[in-house]
């Protein structure tokens, strides 16, 4: 920032005509403008019944306008445009925070009343009104997600090993491209796929837990492949070459050298993939259905899962509506906690199991 040099030069040569001193707004000007905007906003809002929301809206709009006009008259058009964009971009970030904060607040507010021991220990078996819980649904979600992980991780991991260690040419390009495309398959279509597959295999009206696991796998595999691929690419080639130089076969090099080096990243990727599918509702809705009792066998009959449980509690409340709504919100809260916990675990894995570098 050498704003004073040109002015000093100009002022030292007075023969060049009128001196053009660069004028700048004082540092507190934008803040002041916004405070003034908020004050006027509060006044305007008070005219039509005071509310914090409208005060904020008026304040931000008026403040931005004031900053723009001030800058435009004092510092010129270009600086004014710069400040206007800064204000817009910051506001956009603030706007995006509104749904997040509102959502978390709403779920906490509505979900906490039933966040009790009974919710985690009772099923909905023979419960028509108050009481009951999601014990069966939580276990169902854990079982089906674990099954989906069991299916997806070997396939996804081996595919990423193929892409990084073995793959070449058209097959590699095709797999990379279609894995990317697969990440965009709508979850409901994955559910329909599992339904169609099992209908062809076992006949009509079959609803078993493993169908849900297959549907979730379709959604999970591409995520596992992409994240594992990125991590395996980061393993330095020197490690592989050192291993080959010792006469270790390629497959043992991959298993004993490459995978252990990348284990932290692989764990993170798998955990994030689990987090992505654990809240999936639509595929489970059409493949696994819902029951009120506890069924822990994914190969026989319907199972309850937490997202589907939440959905039906909300949309098909019985006579004791409030009890159903409470259970629905608590289930939503448990889901969010589950997903957030998985996200945090993923971060911790990558922090604590990261390969020690710089030995």
């Amino acid at each position: 920032m050498s704003t004073d040099t040109p002015t000093a030069l100009r002022s030292s040569t007075p023969t060049q005509g009128p001196v053009r001193v660069e004028r700048r707004l004082p540092r507190f000007a934008p803040l002041g403008a916004y405070l003034a905007g908020l004050a006027v906003g509060a006044l305007l809002s008070a005219l039509t019944g005071f509310s914090v929301t409208s005060t904020l809206i008026y304040g931000v709009v008026l403040g931005t306008l004031a900053v723009y006009v001030l800058t435009r008259t004092v510092e010129g058009r270009r600086k004014a445009a710069d400040r206007l964009v800064t204000a817009l971009v910051t506001t956009a970030f603030g706007i995006a925070m509104i749904p997040l904060v509102s959502l978390v607040y709403t779920v906490l507010d509505n979900g906490l009343p039933r966040f009790d021991a009974q919710f985690f220990t009772n099923s909905m078996y023979r419960v028509v009104g108050e009481g009951g819980g999601a014990y069966h649904a939580i276990l169902g979600t854990l079982i089906i997600t674990a099954l989906a992980t069991l299916i997806s991780v070997p396939i996804g991991l081996m595919t990423s090993i193929y892409l990084v260690e073995y793959g070449s040419g058209r097959l590699k390009r095709a797999i990379t491209f279609f894995v990317d495309v697969m990440t965009g398959i709508p979850s409901i279509v994955a559910g329909l796929f599992a339904f169609a597959l099992f209908t062809l295999l076992f006949g009509n009206q079959v609803r078993i837990g493993v169908m849900g696991a297959v549907a979730l796998s379709v959604l999970m595999i591409p995520v596992v492949v992409r994240s594992s691929e990125e991590v395996l690419k980061l393993v330095p080639n020197e490690l592989r070459e050192a291993s080959y130089a010792l006469g270790v076969p390629k497959w043992r090099t991959v298993v004993k050298v490459v995978l252990p080096t990348a284990i932290a990243g692989l764990g993170t990727g798998v955990t994030l993939a689990v987090a992505r599918v654990v809240g999936e509702t639509a595929p489970l809705l059409i493949t696994v259905g819902l029951i009120t009792g506890t069924n822990l066998n994914p190969f026989d009959g319907r199972m309850a899962t937490l997202p589907v449980f939440a959905y039906y509690q909300l949309t098909q409340p019985g006579t004791a509506t409030q009890a159903f709504l409470d259970r629905a919100w608590t289930a939503a809260l448990v889901l969010i906690i589950l997903v957030m916990a998985l996200n945090i675990v993923a971060r911790l894995i990558s922090r604590f199991f990261a390969p020690k570098t710089g030995r």
Binding site: L88, F93, Y162, I175, D180, I221, V225
Partner: protein
Amino acid sequence: MTTTSAPPSPPQPKRRVGDRVFAGTAKGSGILILLILAGVAAFLVSEAIPAITAPAEDIPGGEGLAHYVWPLIVGTLLGAVLALLIATPLAVAIALYVTYYAPRRLAAAMGYVIDLLAAIPSVVYGFWGLAVLAPTLVPFHEWAADNLGFIPLFEGPASSTGRTMLTVGIVLAVMILPIISAISREVFGQAPALHREAALALGATRWEMIKMAVLPYGKSGVIGGAMLGLGRALGETMAVAIVLSGGGAAALTLITSTNPSTIASNIALRFPEATGLGVNTLIASGLVLFVITLAVNMLARWVVNRRADFSGAN
């Protein structure tokens, strides 16, 4: 690999059994993924055929498959495009904020907070949309019907519940925001430092630097990200199923209570109770959704990958 017609310059290492098995398994997994994708298409087609070949009066609604699916397609596209229109400018602004405006030390945390929006399950978005957003937007619906009614999209009568296409579009916009902004953030961060510094050195303000050096570089990345977001919005199920009071005809309205439903939400709502040809009809509509999202995603990936080819950032 054993028959070498090329000059045997490096001595071929002995292929061990373990190696062959391992490489075979890896390759097999890759091929299996392609087979799964093909299987998704094949099984959907095979289950949809009864509905495609059935006489028109047997299809639910009684007027044939095309008549059944058309309003759903309109609803799906309307909601997704609306979400895209809302989310893209916001996501680009957020990406710019995180990469070039936010305090350096907070930027990573802010990016993470935005990513959290993507972690929330869609059924919870549905809850939120129904319980919070829809009632909040009712006054806006009435205002729009009174003041913007001359635009066909905003023709009244306004819904009194707020469970309209407009609300759905906003919920979907929130859901695809993190996808678009994550990809935009990535490409904006990769804008060549030399260009940026050159612009600043010539006296450009920060906005002028972004306009001249960052946006042109990141344009195709943003387009690709937006299309990925579009793909997600097209297939979004639960949030729409919970929020929208659908089932109307194929009409381009945003604020009335008779909205066309979307393909995905229609499947979720009808499938558990469907029987016989009803199931096939729903699967046929799922096939349509699959084809639409596949096309959008392939186009998006193509745009994103094309940028990667000549970016020279790596």
